[in-house]
Amino acid sequence: MRASINQTGRRIIPSSELSIKLIDELNLRFKWAFSNLKIKEESEVILELTSIGNSERISIKPSNFSEPGELIIPLNNFLGTKGIIGRLKVVRVDPDGIRYILNESKTLRLENDKLEGEHGKSLLDVYNDPQLRVPWQLAFDDGEPVLKVSDYHENAPKIYTNTVFQTSILPEVMRQITFWLLTEDPDESQNYKVSLWWNLVEELGLSSEDRIYFTGIVTKDLEIISEIMSKCQEIADSFSVKNKILQKLSNYITEEIL
């Protein structure tokens, strides 16, 4: 597995070499199998685990990582265990106390946290952003789509719950997410929601042949991008038809405005 170095100089640990999984409500299994990560004895290795209402740091001896292994981590201090995310950092501590990150993983997500995006949770997280000067924006933080809605002034978030806004914006959101899937080909194994997004896009008409074709092309020229954009528009239109967007919008205008 190749290692990558980002613009800050940290080496990113490949996602495939680490995993976290719930054993039960009180214990989590952290597994690793590094292909070429060398950790000096004087470094510190920290696994950060975060969930709603908690953030714990677990220090692990560097010597543990010389071979593939696993660690069982008790979750007694956690208020809830669903949606735990993790981050592994290898840190060098300078004499002045500053702790520089030498290596780190991308966000680790529970392999078996099936509740996320499946039962009672929206596939698309929506949150208010007080600094957003446009009504909405789609972001792809942590490897999944997130809809930011402006909270710039007091009434701004109310726009989001309005029928006109939802019927106008959701097909466009769907189009942008499809474009992201087809151009970025995000890692399904690292985020369960990504596989649910793929399922949804396939239900809306993306064939497996199209998916393999578009994601398989590493360098996408203008012609391919144009093809992808057409396909994304088809998916967004299919979403609008399936969700009766036209009917909802016209009913709203008839009832509320006319």
Binding site: T8, G9, R10, E44, I46, E48, T50, I52, G53, N54, S55, R57, L79, G80, G83, K89, V91, D96, G97, I98, R99, Y100, I101, K121, D125, V126, Y127, N128, Q131, V146, P157
Partner: protein, 245 residues
């Protein structure tokens, strides 16, 4: 000063949550007059034996202390510490008390203030669960997180909003750094000039500094003094009276 002594704590069922959610859209006076009809109607919740006094509190810290005392005394409640029904019922029962002698700016506001929203970007907005989670995390010395716990329980304020919004900061030494910079140790309240988005402001500390250095520096493993030492000069005006060497 009103005092309500509870012998049980409720946990809204789905009907209770839906009713509470609908009620929150009504005018504030109507909500305050009618909310007890929800928290006393057993069709809407499951009751869990537990004693709790409900009376006006000075700040979020005092509120969190009271919640911690009651919830910590019940094994069943400990298992429900992130339960939406529990926190929403508690918010409903505390609502009239929180509004008692409240500032003029106090309002019902968004639902996430009363009904616990379990999305990671919103849960901290809950008026009871928000301070409770922070208090619980910063034990045994929750006063280190006064930047998030020092505000009014019903109008938490800008400083609380800025620091609590980033869980990486709120649940780490970042909260203590913000307390040292922006909370007046004599009054326990936000220092004058600590609002806004100007140089050295809490917004700069979170968005422009801690969240940026988080890419290269493991600041969450450092002491507050060590973090203060590496802050840019723009924060110096809030360091007055500190010895960080």
């Amino acid at each position: 000063m009103s005092l309500l002594s509870l012998k049980y704590i409720g946990r809204f069922n789905s009907t209770g949550l839906a009713e509470f959610s609908s009620m929150l859209r009504l005018p504030i006076q109507q909500v305050l007059a009618e909310v007890s009809s929800l928290t006393s109607n057993s069709e809407y919740f499951e009751s869990i034996p537990c004693e709790m006094d409900v009376y006006p509190v000075e700040n979020r810290l005092q509120l969190a202390e009271m919640l911690h005392k009651s919830i910590g005394s019940s094994t069943k409640l400990k298992k429900l510490q992130s339960d939406q029904g529990l926190w929403s019922w508690l918010a409903a029962v505390w609502m009239p008390t929180l509004f008692e002698n409240s500032p003029r700016s106090a309002k019902i506001g968004e639902q996430a203030r009363w009904i616990l929203d379990l999305q990671k970007t919103r849960y901290y907005r809950h008026l009871l669960a928000g301070p409770y989670f922070i208090y619980n995390h910063h034990l045994p010395d929750p006063k280190k997180a006064l930047s998030i716990l020092g505000g009014s329980a019903i109008v938490p304020g800008e400083l609380v909003g800025q620091i609590a919004a980033s869980s990486d900061i709120a649940f780490s030494v970042g909260a203590e750094v913000a307390t040292i910079l922006y909370v007046d140790p004599k009054t326990g309240k936000a220092k004058k000039g600590s609002g806004g988005a100007g140089p050295g402001s809490p917004r700069r500390l979170t968005a422009a500094y801690l969240n940026q250095i988080d890419l290269t520096v493991d600041y969450r493993g450092m002491s507050a003094e060590q973090v203060l030492r590496i802050l840019p000069k723009e924060f110096d005006k809030f360091k007055t009276g500190l010895t960080t060497d």
